[in-house]
Symmetry: C2
Subunit: 131 residues, 2 copies
DNA sequence: GTGATTGCAAATGTTTTGCAGGTTG
DNA sequence: CAACCTGCAAAACATTTGCAATCAC
């Protein structure tokens, strides 16, 4: 069992994700980290994102079509992706526990987690559409 | 606008997906197609899966962690993935339209599609756990 | 015959991994 | 100093694409 040791890089990656609400990809994290650690490698970014995700300190949003995205917000919540511009937005939805409970009613296994994604067109793209 | 032409390969791929309920990956489809068309290429499988998905004749289940999976069942329904064995099972859940409607209540864009995934342990893995 | 489809192979994009050196506790 | 972590580069995957030959209409 690997004991965890402090790393500036990991700390910065987590802090960075906390400030963002747009669910950046590993590459975006990497680009932003470079301004603090010019020599940081993409491998380190991936390793830390994966580690933080395993620890439950961040959430990995498995493929919305392209590269995986990462979310500093860990409470269960839903996501919306605009099929026009590709942006990913948090949705304030009803209690996820409730959805999970109802989904498991006709199922013989155990449901412990849930990820709901909605697709459509975001507010900004709808405005552009009108022009 | 490309006019669609018949292809045996595409037909077989669709038929194959209709017979399966385990949401195979492109590679699994490819392996199975090889018994009918020994020279079929993986590229052809990907091209046809993508085409069928665009036509709405099959559903692409974007990354459950590894490779994308494909589903011959197109009515809206939820999926469960076992974090132990990786199997993906259909879930009979409440009306998806209803979930979409409620998710959009505090949202200014338009929601047109939804994909809900549940995670946990499947019945088979629970039995093995007990031993 | 025209244009869509195919097999093949090479290219692309994303993520993981081996290794030698540096850092943490 | 032992174990973890890093940067770098190569490898591993999944998927897409260019091309010349083939097939459907």
């Amino acid at each position: 069992m690997a004991a965890l040791k402090y790393s500036r890089q990991r700390e910065s990656i987590k802090e960075f994700l906390m400030t963002r609400t747009d669910h950046p990809t590993a590459d975006t994290v990497y680009e932003n980290m470079k301004s603090i650690y010019p020599n940081i490698s993409l491998g380190t970014v991936y390793r830390n994102l994966s580690l933080l995700s395993d620890l439950g300190e961040i959430k990995k949003l498995a493929s919305f079509g392209g590269a995986d995205r990462f979310d500093g917000r860990v409470e269960p919540h839903c996501h919306f992706m605009c099929t026009e511009c590709g942006c990913v937005i948090d949705l304030e939805t009803e209690d996820m526990q409730d959805i999970m409970k109802r989904a498991g009613e006709h199922f013989n296994g155990i449901i412990t987690d849930c990820s709901a994604r909605f697709f459509g067109m975001c507010e900004d793209c709808m405005k552009k559409e009108k022009n």
